[in-house]
């Protein structure tokens, strides 16, 4: 395990060693996996490259085995190309990419779990859309990916990143918080801004149930990826505007753990509660059983 166990630990190392967050995370990775910095950086770049490949290879004709998922990313794309869209170019693009990645995952394409397969659309959507919209060098994005990963590691250690143990707040919520931190960095936020973006994003997702219809990573997972991406953008923007979380970032993470523990099993990936038990879902289930 890394030499940091909380957001506070990361910030303390940053100020003691006068290093940016991403470098602290990278140096810890070097110690943990016994690699040199160039290897660690190349490893993270490879993850980002794989995300970009997955984004590019989206195929709107694909449908998942259940027939429930596919083609929605294309709908968003067409709407985003019209002059009627509600969000900025960047936010619209992030929404679109998040849905596309979720669909690619459901259709058995190659993705990067970040932190999980169900939530694989949030982080690449925000970062790739940012790179395309604001024309930043790829190295900067890789740096942001380290921040994202470090925040994820802290969440995994102190709460959870699995829907089965923490509900969807642990998957889409964690992904959103991780993306918000990275985005705040990309947009020029300082360390305080970065961790507050993370805290606000996670707070907005607390309590989210994991209730996938028929146990498949499709409904509601795919569309929630776009919510996670947009929430990351909103939270980063609030933090960049100088808004701060009233609750300490580590306490927010601990809250997610407590809420996850308090959630009934039916809302933690068992498909025995929530959306999975609605009449609509049960009808889908009946249909699938016939296949």
């Amino acid at each position: 395990m890394a030499g940091y166990h909380s957001v506070k630990d990361i910030l303390t190392i940053c100020s003691d060693e006068k290093l940016p967050i991403w470098k602290v995370i990278m140096e810890e990775d070097c110690i943990e996996r016994q690699v040199v910095q160039s290897e660690s950086f190349a490893g993270m770049r490879a993850m980002y490259t794989a995300m970009k490949q997955a984004d590019k290879s989206y195929d709107s004709r694909l449908r998942s085995a259940s027939g429930l998922a596919g083609g929605d990313g294309e709908k968003l794309h067409i709407y985003n190309m019209s002059d009627k869209k509600l969000c900025s170019d960047f936010t619209s693009l992030a929404m679109e990419k998040a849905v596309k990645m979720g669909e690619s995952n459901a259709c058995m394409r190659r993705i990067v779990a970040a932190p999980t397969a169900g939530s694989c659309g949030v982080i690449p959507a925000v970062f790739i859309a940012y790179e395309e919209s604001f024309n930043v060098p790829e190295d900067r994005i890789v740096e942001a990916m380290f921040i994202t990963a470090g925040i994820g590691a802290v969440i995994a250690e102190n709460a959870s990143i699995a829907g089965a143990s923490g509900g969807c707040q642990a998957e889409i919520g964690s992904a959103s918080a991780m993306a918000a931190a990275g985005l705040a960095y990309l947009a020029g936020g300082d360390n305080d801004c970065i961790v507050n973006a993370m805290a606000m994003a996670l707070k907005n997702m607390l309590g989210l149930a994991c209730d996938p219809v028929c146990g498949l990573v499709e409904v509601p997972c795919i569309k929630r990826n776009s919510a996670g991406a947009v929430n990351a953008i909103a939270s980063a923007q609030m933090a960049l505007a100088g808004i701060r979380s009233a609750i300490d970032p580590d306490e927010v993470i601990d809250t997610m753990r407590r809420i996850g523990n308090a959630m009934p099993a039916g809302l933690k990936e068992t498909s025995e509660g929530g959306l999975a038990q609605t009449p609509s879902a049960l009808k889908i289930k009946e249909k699938l059983e016939e296949i």
Binding site: M47, S64, P115, G118, G152, C214, L216, V217
Partner: protein, 219 residues
């Protein structure tokens, strides 16, 4: 957990437990077999059985048995590839009691006729646990070079194995011993820090009282 367990792995979707974990179970079983699989009876249990179809669990297990890893783009086409390569596959329901919800039982025949039965569990993320080999309980992840020795339950076999390893300069990371009953059949599972050279494995196979040697190389 390192940061590449958080961002990563690169995998074919849709589910880290039901797809990537299933690929790993097949992949590790193929490695344990040590030769191409010609026949596979795959029995599913719990959530693997109930929701496996929509997650591609069956395709994933077959892909793994064909030697594909979790990021192999051919996973969705594994049934066709198995047919081309002459691998016969049958699916069924595993009759196990109180097993882990994501469990698969693989009853395999290799090209040379070698038999192997593996029970694998997908325990979260893309991580797995090999819970049984040939009917005897085990407990290993497949992340390390792993040696599995079936032998008669008599004195001396543990010493033979460990001295062979020390002779070959292989460090043991973990070691587990199991037996069916006293004086019956016993199993040793050793996870190692280095790969075990081929001649060490061949030597073990000839030791008296050793019934079967299975080696998982991660190279």
């Amino acid at each position: 957990m390192n940061i590449f367990d958080i961002i990563g792995p690169v995998m074919v979707g849709p589910s880290s437990s039901h797809t990537a974990g299933a690929v790993r179970i097949g992949y590790i079983s193929r490695k344990l077999m040590g030769e191409p699989v010609s026949k596979a009876q795959i029995n599913l249990y719990g959530s693997f059985l109930a929701t496996g179809k929509g997650h591609g669990t069956r395709k994933a297990l077959v892909a793994g048995l064909l030697g594909m890893n979790t990021d192999d783009m051919r996973i969705p086409d594994s049934f066709e590839i198995a047919k081309e390569q002459g691998m016969e596959v049958h699916f069924g329901e595993a009759r196990l009691k109180d097993a882990h919800p994501n469990t698969a039982q693989l009853i395999l025949t290799g090209q040379s006729g070698r038999q192997l039965e593996v029970i694998g569990q997908s325990i979260g993320g893309a991580r797995i646990n090999i819970a049984q080999i040939d009917g005897i309980d085990t407990n290993f992840s497949g992340d390390y070079p792993t040696l599995v020795v079936h032998n008669l339950d008599q004195p001396g076999h543990v010493a033979e194995v460990t001295s062979m390893l020390s002779h070959k300069g292989v460090n043991i990371a973990t070691m587990q011993l199991y037996r069916s009953n006293r004086g019956g059949e016993a199993v040793m599972v050793l996870e190692c820090d280095q790969e075990i050279p081929e001649d060490g494995i061949r030597w073990l196979e000839k030791v008296e009282g050793v019934k079967k040697v299975t080696y998982l190389s991660i190279e």
